[in-house]
């Protein structure tokens, strides 16, 4: 018995019948395939092109990373109270980033000219917003229906009262002209997102409506706004609008920018949502209609939940764009985060050769953290949806 097995296992001749006598136990793969060496061979040096790319990338890393680390960390100045601390001295010839400046000005970067004793209100706003974002972003969160109401109704109203002030409940009024820094950047982005999504959904539905008037309005709005740069929209909102409305009814400068940004973002959001709507098969509409659901219920209960889910990565992409575009509000004289850095870097108390680089590096890190976070989130949702489709 055992000899037959060894002979047949050893070599199977052509045309010979075969019955396996002994199972083959799993063996570890050869070293060239597994482990660190296998990984490096397979991923970095698998072909001539790959070898070339690996060498170029390694060179780039060697060229860029050490000076960056040297500037940002090794030579950086961490403590100090004025420009003198960030100037080269005989015992400190090479000065890197002047983080002392950022630390000194961090409150200005965060709150702008918001009155110091009222800044706790801004902090509460940040917490409210973070809670809302977490509730919406965590897909398995309890009561996401309430989360939607919180995010789109409760939070905006509460934030408005909190930030603007309401003397009746003992909150002193703070004019929007004293808002600034991260606060303005976050407010403009958040308002842009909170308003652009619902308006975008309505526009997307309008563009697919069977009623020609509704369709025409949606198409004209979307195409007009998309055909104009954001700067133009902002200029229109801040310069042109006051010409058309009575002087007594002159809306707040920040409000005008907010409206401009929201409408601009809505047009982009509408196209993103429309793409999602188009991905929903006709059968879903028919099944919903066949059980007697009306147009709005069909959309709200069947089509949009599916369409929005598949558009989340694109919605986040638009949001990232919007977040960075908010820096343009400086052009109409609003003190956003980047503008506070602009103002501080020319401050005589801190003006040194390296101060601008430090300020911009800080801005870059700030935007990078937020945008990369959003991007990772979009990837996570995509991966989860892919897993859901396999189900």
């Amino acid at each position: 018995m055992s000899d037959i097995a060894t002979t047949t296992d050893a070599k199977l001749m052509a045309g010979q019948a075969f019955v396996r006598a002994r199972p083959i136990v799993p063996l570890p793969p050869p070293l060239t395939e597994a482990g660190a060496i296998g990984w490096v061979r397979k991923n970095l040096f698998s072909s001539t092109l790959n070898v070339a790319l690996t060498v170029v990338c390694a060179a780039l890393i060697v060229w860029l990373v050490p000076p960056l680390v040297k500037f940002l960390l090794i030579d950086a100045v961490w403590t100090g109270t004025s420009r003198v601390d960030c100037l080269p001295r005989p015992d400190y010839p090479e000065v890197g980033a002047c983080w002392a400046f950022v630390i000194d000005r961090i409150n200005f970067f965060t709150y702008g000219f918001y009155p110091i004793e009222e800044r706790w209100r801004v902090n509460v706003f940040f917490v409210l917003l973070a809670a809302g974002v977490a509730w919406m972003a965590w897909l398995d969160a309890p009561r996401r229906d309430l989360g939607v109401i919180y995010f789109f109704v409760v939070m905006p109203v509460a934030s408005l009262i909190l930030l603007l002030g309401w003397p009746l409940i003992g909150l002193e009024k703070v004019p929007t002209t004293s808002w600034g820094g991260v606060l303005v950047t976050v407010v403009v982005s958040a308002v842009g997102i909170v308003f652009s999504l619902p308006i975008g959904i309505v526009l997307a539905l309008g563009r697919r409506s069977r009623m020609p008037a509704v369709r025409l309005f949606s198409v004209i709005f979307i195409e007009f706004v998309r055909g104009v740069p954001l700067i133009t929209v902002l200029f229109m909102a801040s310069v042109m609008l006051p010409l058309f409305v009575p002087e007594t009814w002159s809306p707040d400068k920040l409000l005008r920018a907010l409206v401009g940004v929201s409408l601009f973002a809505s047009a982009y959001m509408a196209e993103v949502v429309r793409a999602g709507l188009q991905a929903i098969p006709k059968g879903q509409y028919e099944a919903a209609m066949a059980v007697g659901l009306s147009y709005w219920k069909t959309m709200g209960l069947v089509v949009l939940p599916q369409a929005l889910k598949i558009t989340i990565p694109n919605i986040v992409n638009t949001t990232i764009g919007l977040f960075k575009d908010t820096t343009l509000v400086f052009i109409v004289g609003i003190f956003d985060f980047l503008m506070t850095i602009e103002a501080s870097r020319v401050d005589p108390n801190w003006a040194t050769p390296g101060i601008s680089t430090t300020g911009y590096a800080f801005a870059a890190i700030f935007y990078l953290i937020f945008c990369y976070g959003m991007s990772r989130y979009a990837r996570f949702v995509e991966a989860r949806l892919a897993a859901g489709d396999r189900r």
Partner: protein, 261 residues
């Protein structure tokens, strides 16, 4: 009593207001220049089971989709249980509430669980309380023999199970008339029987049914009349026995010779 144990619903179908369930009178429809339905005349009485067959593109699906206004007809009259379908949206909704439909590709809502698929319309259209809707849904899931799947999502079920869920979804609205648009055409061969069995039991309850299908065994067993269509026209309407054993029209004979091997 016997019906309660053999039938699918365990409940009588909702009563029709009139003796005529569906009346199609001189119905014409065009897709652009293409004359897809040509002078369709068909009267379906209460409790009748009609099987509609014919080559693809003959207008079978379009015809039954006119009955719940998924397609608009351009000439003639479509009367469903005494209500004429025109542009009156309210009437269309009323008709859709009374007419259940089962599709070739199931068209379940993939983002909802099986139970939520069944309760969606009863809650939002019939305004049933959630608990009551869920009880009724579970009842029908038991009747289509998949109560254990209630918490799953449609994508986790086999094709046959999905189609049975789709039938249960339509039944939850307590329809007077059921339309089936090629309910077994998208199924693996092994799944066809479980769906047909479900439909047979539904027929035993006395449900008025219009079924577009190529399952000739089902037609022979269940149908009161078979409608044969070709090129947008009704070519022949006959009882199953005559239809299969002694077809009258040449086109019917050709069709049967092609599909019955």
């Amino acid at each position: 009593m016997a019906q309660q144990t053999t039938g699918i619903s365990g409940l009588k179908p909702a009563p029709l207001k009139t003796g005529v369930a569906v009346d199609l009178i001189g119905v014409h429809k065009w897709y652009g220049d293409f004359h897809v339905l040509r002078d369709i005349n068909l009267r379906v009485t209460k409790g009748e089971r009609i099987v509609i067959c014919g080559p693809s593109g003959s207008g079978k699906s379009t015809m039954i989709r006119c009955i719940n206004r998924l397609e608009e007809h351009q000439q003639g009259r479509v009367i469903v249980d005494g209500m004429e379908l025109a542009n009156d949206l309210k009437k269309i909704d009323e008709v859709r509430r009374d007419v259940g439909m089962v599709f070739q590709h199931f068209n379940l809502f993939p983002h909802l669980t099986v139970l939520e698929n069944l309760t969606l319309a009863p809650i939002w259209v019939r305004k049933q309380p959630k608990k009551e809707a869920e009880e009724i849904a579970m009842h029908y899931l038991q009747r289509v023999k998949i109560p254990e799947q209630a918490a799953k999502f449609p994508g986790q079920l086999s094709g046959g199970q999905q189609q049975r869920v789709a039938i249960a979804r339509a039944l939850c609205m307590n329809p007077k008339i059921m339309l089936f648009d090629e309910p077994t055409s998208a199924l693996d061969p092994e799944m066809v029987k479980e769906v047909l069995d479900t439909m047979v039991r539904l027929a035993e309850d006395g449900m008025t049914m219009l079924v577009v299908t190529h399952e000739m065994g089902f037609a022979r067993q269940v149908a009161n009349r078979i409608v044969f269509m070709d090129e947008g026209q009704i070519v022949e309407v006959n009882e199953p026995k005559t239809f299969f054993d002694n077809p009258q029209h040449e086109r019917t004979k050709l069709f049967l010779s092609q599909i019955l091997h």
